[in-house]
């Protein structure tokens, strides 16, 4: 049973546009929601994370929006750049280990 559902599976955005990736979770006990960025041949790297006591967190061009009542959270990438082309994973901390979504492959065209 998939506990973190991520969409879309792939995304193509024009340079300068906004990329939006969505995730939904089921377990209300989750209390930490990170986003990871992965480039080909590399391990996932933490991009930004949020805890459920806030509704939004912004770091540079990256913003997490969190809706606790809907059990949803999303990643917004403003002014998307070709260097942002990568696979993005949302995750939720359940107990002692992260549970990941299936990933979104983002391509930013120049």
């Amino acid at each position: 049973q998939q506990q973190v559902k991520q969409s879309p599976q792939s995304l193509i955005v024009q340079k300068g546009g906004i990329s939006i990736i969505n995730c939904a979770y089921e377990n209300t006990a989750f209390d930490y929601f990170p986003w990871y960025q992965q480039f080909p041949g590399k391990g996932p790297a933490l991009l930004i994370a949020i805890r459920p006591d806030v509704s939004e967190k912004k770091e540079g061009r990256f913003t997490i929006s969190f809706n606790k009542s809907a059990k949803q959270f999303s990643l917004h990438i403003m002014d998307s750049q070709p260097g942002d082309s990568a696979t993005y994973f949302c995750a939720a901390l359940g107990g002692t280990a992260l549970i990941f979504g299936k990933g979104t492959t983002l391509s930013v065209s120049s």
Partner: protein
């Protein structure tokens, strides 16, 4: 990569043979994890450790065992490799159960 070294980085092995992957950390983090990454499945937890000799199963633990005899090393063993275990394996470490996890570079394993 947060002081995490996975070895080997690539391995090809035959069906039925045992295989051991190693994760070594220099951060003295308490928690260590093994994930596998497959297209369309994201990252799935195999096993994790919350201290020396303290381990527990994850979502996809069948066919795998782990050991942690020292804080810095976490070994993943495929007891009898099968083609379904062809995957990219990632080790991750975390200082506590509620902080971010840092990932290694991965090991690409092919079982033929």
């Amino acid at each position: 990569d947060a002081g995490i070294t996975q070895s080997p980085r690539h391995k090809v092995t035959e069906t039925g043979t045992p295989v051991t992957l190693r994760c070594h950390q220099t951060e003295n983090h308490r928690y260590m994890y093994w994930y596998r990454q497959d297209p369309g499945h994201g990252l799935r937890l195999i096993h994790y450790s919350y201290g020396v000799k303290d381990t527990d199963k994850g979502e996809v633990s069948d066919g795998y065992s782990v050991s942690r005899s020292k804080t810095e090393d976490f070994l993943l063993t495929l007891e009898s490799a099968t083609s379904s275990q062809t995957s990219v394996y990632f080790c991750a470490i975390s200082e506590s159960a509620v902080t971010e996890a840092f990932f290694g570079q991965g090991t690409r394993l092919t079982v033929v």
